[in-house]
Amino acid sequence: METTTQEKAAPSIPRLGQPAPAFEAQTTHGTLRLEDFKGSWLILFSHPADFTPVCTTEFVAFAEIAPELKKRGVELCGLSIDSTYSHIAWVRNIEEKFGVKIPFPVIADLNKEVATLYGMIMPGESKTETSRCVFVIDPNGTLRAMIYYPLTTGRNMQEILRLIDALQTTDKNGVATPANWKPGEKVIIPPPATAEAAEERMKAGFETKDWYFSKKSL
């Protein structure tokens, strides 16, 4: 069955742990559907507008981390409410002026369909631009994380890489990650769910502060 952009709905924010909203969109790499990314992690991100300074710094920064993301099986896809021609002109300009080739597709969401599905427009900030949103979608198409930044503030690429590392570590090892965690550091063992398991946890040999708080190295 063909999957295209879901029926128009009232603007809403997608929910973590649920299937990411399906879409079909024109991009700088041709027509793409969300399902085309199945089997890979996807970072779908929006920016307010082409040919603007903060967005340009972000595109350069996303391009710079693209090889690291590729090693982790992650694809990138940008989006703004601009035309394909504007996107093409802008990415060519970035290459010419900044010496950085943009390797990922950029959605031309002129009718705001995808932006509306993903809740990328914050009317309190702008009714005609998407805010700086990041949606992390796993290889099964489930929305796993969201980051929303305002128009004025460029995103932190190291945090995006850290988030991917944390999610993939969680999936691989069935653990959680503490505040400011970085790869190589100790991870959190999920708290026991029963009194018996809590008793066992105290004797399990982990680094345990109390029955609900245990860490271990991977």
Binding site: H29, G30, T31, L32, D36, G39, E75
Partner: protein, 78 residues
């Protein structure tokens, strides 16, 4: 369309995809062989199917007569 221009000519990416599908490669093997990301293999295959050059077959794509003719034409030109 990235794979096919307005005059119906296939480009380099389309030729690579048709080459791989002609050998019976899966979508993942086609991505490996061509160096294209999997999402571009999928979207490119969809374009080729819409142009009648390939058709779905066993979770990958097989060339149609039109696809084989397009390949023969490209081979004849090179």
């Amino acid at each position: 369309m990235p794979c096919i221009d307005s005059s119906g000519q296939i480009n380099e990416m389309a030729r690579k995809l048709l080459d791989a599908f002609a050998e019976g490669s899966s979508l993942i093997a086609t991505a490996d062989k061509t160096g294209l990301p999997l999402y571009r293999v999928r979207s490119g295959a969809r374009e080729l199917a819409e142009a009648g050059l390939v058709e779905p077959a066993n979770e990958t794509y097989a060339l149609t007569d039109a696809g084989r003719a397009a390949m023969a034409k490209v081979s004849g030109e090179s």
